[in-house]
Amino acid sequence: MSTTESTNGALLSLRGITKRFGPVQALSDVTFDVPAGQVTALIGDNGAGKSSLIKTIAGLWSPDAGQMLWDGKPVRHTGPREAEAIGIKTIYQDLALCDNLDIVQNMFLGHERLRSRLLDEDTMEMAARQTLKELSVTTVRSIRQPVASLSGGQRQSVAVAKALINEAKLVIMDEPTAALGVAQTRMVLDLIKTLSGRGVAVLVISHNLNDIFEVADRIAVLYLGHLAVSGAASDFNRQSAVEYMTTGNATPAGAA
């Protein structure tokens, strides 16, 4: 298994991404691909550089060295707005929803539809309903209820729907199943599959190997800031994944 891959068909390709914070080398020479229509799982121990990497992709900071290819073309965004503009949507652990706003208002926050410069609530409501339907989110009775009243899984659904309605091509999910119950985890995993089934590239960060092996098409393992390995999920098993995460290597039997 090699750590460099061809850019064929990859929506996002990272080439030698490096990021330093003073003496701390957060990311060193990270190279891997995120293809469209597939779920790529990014795993690694605490401090392996997962958060640094997604923040780089999301445009919160720019890398010190290396290149990002988007649809084969080099991009270098200087802020999250630019990353969003090309279709990179990040769903952080804390979900970044406004509790006092309802589902529709949250889904369109920052991208409100207007009619004669005023909020076009009806159009937004219909579009929101359509998107939730496409994502098979059926557990919310009314999309006009404030998100404060929603369960963790439902909030996750709203966050995903928000990304989708704003024409996401790549959705980055940071620990989407953390702190969720069994049924809600089930719901979120289904959501991730639906999302990639619609041709969206999904990059999932998770500690939960059960969830990873259930939804991931591809797996990339970070170890101490560099990419230990990346490849098809079928090339991994639980043991090899854990070994890569904890040591950066795997015994030959595990690596398959």
Binding site: P80, D94, L109, G110, D122, M126, S142, Q145, M187
Partner: protein, 435 residues
């Protein structure tokens, strides 16, 4: 704790397939298909702590009954109109404070903002400047808006706490007000009189003729009914969930009754010596401000962003909202609105004086907003809350005055009532959060 079955299968669990949390927090109109269901949903919300304006309404009725039993003069037509006039300034500064409270900030400079706004307008429309009254008002509003811009910029760009900046701002405005009185040779003893022929003077002293009042009321109710029914028809035709027709009718009926009662009270003769009747102009002036601000908050992007920033600035920032600008805008709006309160002040006093109680006014601003139901910690509240809250303050002051209570006791009693109202609100809302 395991996940409730209602989570995955909406048909299980509670009868309607909703969790208790959903049932209590969702707006009644989104759950109800009939008037009866609507009322039931509303009641569940109240029990769940999402009481909205109800506590303040109940409190208002209780206080009103108390004063009426103490002195039957309280609910007389004449005194009710006086009450509405007295409430005007509390309502407008309450609306000013609402802008910043929604953003989880506070503006303590508003009290002397009323004074500076009042002085600026009074001097602009008097000799030697002699601007037309409306240009004078614009001048005062813009001047205060600039002051708000400075405060907002300091708060957002330097990351300073708003209470410190606006506390300093209060002192600065006091100084500016004294200086404005100082440089004006016509300000005798720190007082500028308003020309009794000026429309600004008449705003506070004159009334609509009763017939004009009825015509305006009829037009307003017709417009309200048309807008309500048209919106419902449009939503229904697009297959969106619409409030039951009975609810719309009941709302329109309620507005009509309230409007007719208000107009009837205003149009009764309230003088023992000559005939004085009609709605004081200051009432529509205040209602237009509240209506315009409500509309701004509910129908524009900026209004939506005010709520988003007030609840979760980080989420707002990630959504691409210019958080610092929205907060700055909140302070511009609060200061500019203080100048509008200055218009109410000088029109009712017939003059503006450096003796204005800016320190007291800012307390009323916060109290009017919070008593009415606007949260101190941002993201929750509406302009209509300031309307109700301002009314409560004037009822308490007026009622105590009619009872013949000493001013010192009036102040203490008002403080007790206001803090009690805020506490009641906090207790009711804590139930909503704990649940």
């Amino acid at each position: 704790m395991s996940t409730p079955p209602a989570e995955i299968k909406p048909t299980e669990g509670s009868e309607s397939g909703l969790s208790d949390a959903e049932l209590t927090s969702a707006a009644p109109e989104v759950l109800a298909n009939s008037l009866r269901e609507y009322l039931e949903a509303s009641w569940r919300r109240i029990k769940g702590g999402e009481s909205g304006a109800l506590p303040v309404l109940v409190g208002l009725i209780a206080i009103g009954l108390f004063f009426q039993l103490e002195n039957s003069e309280f609910l007389s037509d004449g005194n009710l109109v006086t009450l509405l006039g007295e409430a005007a300034i509390y309502i407008v500064i309450g609306a000013a404070e609402t802008f910043v409270l929604l953003l989880s900030e506070i503006d303590l400079s508003l009290g002397y903002g009323v004074g500076v706004g009042g002085f600026a307008i009074a001097e602009l429309i008097a000799p030697p400047v002699n601007l037309p009254w409306w240009l004078g008002v614009i001048g005062g509003v813009v001047a205060m808006g600039c002051f708000g811009l400075i405060q907002g910029t300091l708060i957002t760009q330097l990351g300073l706490p708003s209470f410190v900046v606006t506390l300093g701002g209060q002192l600065a405005l006091l100084g500016i007000m004294l200086e404005l009185a100082n440089v004006d040779p016509t300000a005798v003893g720190g007082v500028i009189q308003i020309d009794p022929n000026s429309p600004i003077y008449k705003l506070g002293s004159d009334s609509m003729s009763p017939s004009l009042g009825w015509i305006v009321l009829a037009v307003c109710i017709a417009l309200f009914a048309a807008v309500t029914l048209n919106r419902n028809r449009s939503r229904r035709s697009r297959g969106l969930h619409t409030e039951p027709i009975g609810v719309s009718m009941l709302t329109i009926l309620g507005v009509t009754v309230a409007g007719v009662v208000l107009m009837y009270i205003c149009n009764a003769n309230r003088s023992h010596f000559a005939v004085i009747h009609g709605m004081p102009w200051v009432i529509p002036f205040v209602l237009i401000i509240i209506l315009a601000y409500s509309w701004l908050l509910s129908h524009t992007r900026t209004g939506r962003y005010v709520y988003a920033v007030g609840n979760n600035p980080e989420a707002a920032r990630r959504a691409g909202i210019k958080v610092k600008w929205i907060v700055t805008l909140g302070f511009i709006m609060s200061s500019a609105t203080a100048a509008l309160a200055g218009v109410v002040y000088i029109s009712q006093q017939g003059s503006v004086s450096t003796d204005i109680d800016g320190g007291g006014l800012v307390l009323y601003a916060v109290a009017a907003a919070v008593v009415g139901g606007t949260a101190l910690f941002g993201g929750r509240g509406r302009m209509v809350n300031a309307l109700l809250g301002g009314f409560v303050i004037s009822v308490v002051y007026n009622g105590l005055a009619i009872m013949g209570v000493q001013p010192a006791v009036q102040d203490i009693s008002t403080a007790v009532v206001l803090i009690a109202a805020v506490s009641l609100d906090a207790v009711v809302r804590r139930r909503a959060i704990v649940r």
